[in-house]
């Protein structure tokens, strides 16, 4: 009966894992914005997370355009050049992170300060050049350039048999399995090496013994 309970719990966990696998794709945007309107991109790539649901209206506007130039996402946001602490301190640059529900046809991001375009960037997604450009590409948009076993800044931890090097220790169960396998292989190799050394030593000893017997 205890086994049944374990099975039940495992079933539940499998359901949860299945749910996690179906996580929502988002366009993850992280930008450093300076008071002088220059912008640095930290990343602009497809990830998996919950979409940002709360932004305050302000002077800045983020726009996402499709391949035909159609605006598919548009929101005004507030950027505060201030760290909230005791007391609040001014900062420059400020940082904005947004997670926007991803649509295949999102091709360009524009950022305006009031009506002035201060940043425009193609959403690359994938350029198939064999290099994982971690600012713009991820396994989710470009598995060819960013296979799961290569770093792309996004941890995908669920049951694919591949250890994702982006995950924290313990986050991806596949990494534990990989570690175990590697350890097993190491033990096997060490064992073989020791066996070969012993055999060689034994063989040398026997030859010497025979040699000294012949004299």
């Amino acid at each position: 009966m205890k086994n049944e309970m374990k099975k039940a719990v495992l079933f539940i966990l499998v359901l949860l894992a299945a749910q996690a696998v179906q996580a929502e794709k988002v366009l993850s945007i992280s930008l450093n914005i300076y008071k002088n309107d220059s912008v640095d991109v930290n990343y602009l790539k497809v990830g998996e997370n919950r979409p940002t649901r709360y932004v305050v209206d302000g002077d800045y506007r983020v726009q996402l355009l499709s391949s035909t130039g159609e605006v598919v996402w548009n929101k005004t946001i507030q950027i505060m050049f201030m760290v909230f602490t005791d007391p609040p301190e001014p900062i420059d640059p400020s940082l904005v992170n947004l997670e926007i529900k991803y649509e295949q046809d999102m091709r360009r991001i524009n950022l305006y300060n009031k009506d002035k375009l201060i940043y425009s960037q193609e959403i690359k997604g994938c350029n198939l050049n064999g290099v994982c450009e971690t600012k713009y590409e991820s396994y989710l948009s470009c598995p060819a350039d960013c296979p799961l076993d290569r770093k792309d800044g996004i941890c995908i931890k669920n049951g694919d048999g591949i250890c994702d090097p982006d995950c924290l220790p313990g986050a991806d169960p596949d990494c534990a399995k990989k570690e175990q396998d590697e350890r097993g292989t190491q033990y096997l190799i060490s064992g073989l090496v020791i066996a070969v050394v012993i055999a060689a030593a034994f063989s040398v000893y026997n030859r010497r013994k025979k040699g000294s017997g012949a004299e």
Binding site: K2, M5, I12, G47, P87, A171
Partner: protein, 430 residues
């Protein structure tokens, strides 16, 4: 020692007798119905709680252990029965641990529950919705079991309104304790301490995604992960109890990362603030490396870093940093939700003219911090830059608003203006 054995045997006899005289009973425990077992158990346990017959906690444990280990009765009962949600879930087969509803030692039904373990101090925990709070490092089995001993927002001894499941696939109202720490499975990097993200196979239930998911990340954490779990739980509980989701707390899910995010926090306030963006970015990177999905990230540390700074945030990042007491988390998240500081007349002196929680002289907003005067606060005309000049608005419990400074007068709650603002944010309301 001999006396103790005799007492245990006597108690076992009484327990068996209780079973015998209960209707449709059987002497063989394996033949017992759940009702019979539960009634018999509580007959004895009721005496223990009431202090009748001088029954000790250890003796109760012995009784439980005897029946459970000798006949594997618990396995039969608490897995398969139709009423598994009853306090049959109070009995653990493996360890002789006893759960009960009510504050430790009282047995009065409320949201508090107690765990009695032989040789240890009773430990209080709490049922909020189907969630167990206040216990850390419990195996999946214990949490599973304990959760099934909860009704909505309180512990329960019967299955009225209880969240029960009979078997996978026939779930009625299933909220699953999402714990990723399981025995015999490699430790994972995170554990969910607050429930919902549930799934269901039922067509009748209406379980949705939680409205708010907060990821707690240990930052340069020097203590054990158990300590972190406790601290994160404390912060999560305080948070959900002080936002409009308090009326449906299972709509908030808190996830704890279980590996320290070592970023080398600076030791003084100035360096902290100068590097605030980098710190928040590093915490955000750790959050992404957890593989979890979340709305907000709270970085917590147990080190005394950043000097006098108890926490900080930069609006729009979705990441906040907190070093100290539990009220810091809703304060910093309050900024993410567009609330401004109340230890300074931010609307007048810092330019936040459109903020909803300006200092209000009718609810204490003109009370100054010495050596400043009320002229620096609500209704005044003086400003002192960004200095801490005011006490903040009073909250409905006559303490100061959470958006005031860290050590302001308790009890800490949001003031009515903050509350009205939070009520406008759809994912913070039930």
């Amino acid at each position: 020692m001999q006396d103790k054995k005799i007492r245990v045997i006597a108690l076992l006899a009484v327990f068996s007798l209780t079973l015998v005289i209960s209707p449709a009973c059987a002497l063989n425990p394996e033949m017992l119905s759940e009702d019979e077992y539960v009634n018999a158990y509580f007959s004895i346990y009721g005496d223990y709680i009431a202090g009748n017959g001088n029954i000790s906690r250890e003796e109760i444990g012995d009784i439980v252990e005897y029946y459970l280990t000798s006949k594997d009765l618990a396995g039969n009962l608490y897995v398969t029965g139709q009423k598994s949600g009853r306090m049959i879930g109070s009995i653990l087969a493996d360890s002789g641990v006893v759960f009960d509803c009510g504050v430790c030692g009282s047995g009065v039904l409320n949201s508090k529950c107690c765990i009695y373990r032989a040789g240890q101090e009773p430990m209080m925990y709490e049922c909020v919705g189907t969630e167990v709070r206040g216990v850390n490092n419990y195996t999946w089995k214990e949490i599973y079991q304990c959760t099934f001993g909860c009704c909505a927002n309180r512990c329960c001894r019967d299955n009225t309104n209880a969240t029960t499941t009979t078997s996978p696939g026939t779930t009625t109202t299933l909220s699953i304790p999402v714990t990723t720490t399981q025995p015999a499975v490699t430790t994972t990097s995170s554990t969910t301490t607050t429930i919902p993200a549930s799934t269901t196979t039922s067509t009748t239930s209406t379980i949705s995604e939680p409205k708010l998911v907060v990821l707690f990340v240990p930052v340069d954490w020097t203590g054990g992960m158990d300590d972190f779990g406790s601290k994160a739980t404390e912060h999560a509980n305080f948070l959900v109890e002080h936002i409009p989701l308090k009326d449906c707390p299972t709509q908030m899910k808190a996830i704890n990362v279980k590996v320290s995010c070592d970023i080398g926090l600076p030791m003084n306030s100035a360096e902290c603030i100068n590097n605030a963006l980098q710190i928040l970015q590093a915490i955000g990177a750790c959050a992404r490396a957890s593989g979890e999905e979340y709305d907000y990230v709270v970085g917590l540390t147990d080190k005394d870093v950043c000097g006098a700074t108890a926490g900080f945030s930069v609006y729009g990042t979705g990441v906040v940093f907190s070093e100290s007491d539990a009220q810091i988390t809703p304060h910093e998240l309050g900024h993410e939700w567009n609330l401004v500081e109340e230890y300074v007349d931010a609307c007048r002196c810092l330019g936040f003219t459109r903020a909803d929680n300006c200092l209000d002289q009718y609810i204490g907003g003109s009370d100054p911090m010495l050596p400043y005067t009320s002229d620096y606060c609500a209704g005044g005309s003086a400003c002192a830059g960004r200095a801490v000049t005011c006490q903040g608005n009073l909250n409905p419990s006559n303490g100061r608003c959470i958006m005031s400074y860290a050590d302001a007068k308790e009890p800490r709650e949001f003031c009515k203006h903050c509350w009205a603002h939070l009520l406008k944010i759809d994912f913070l309301t039930c």
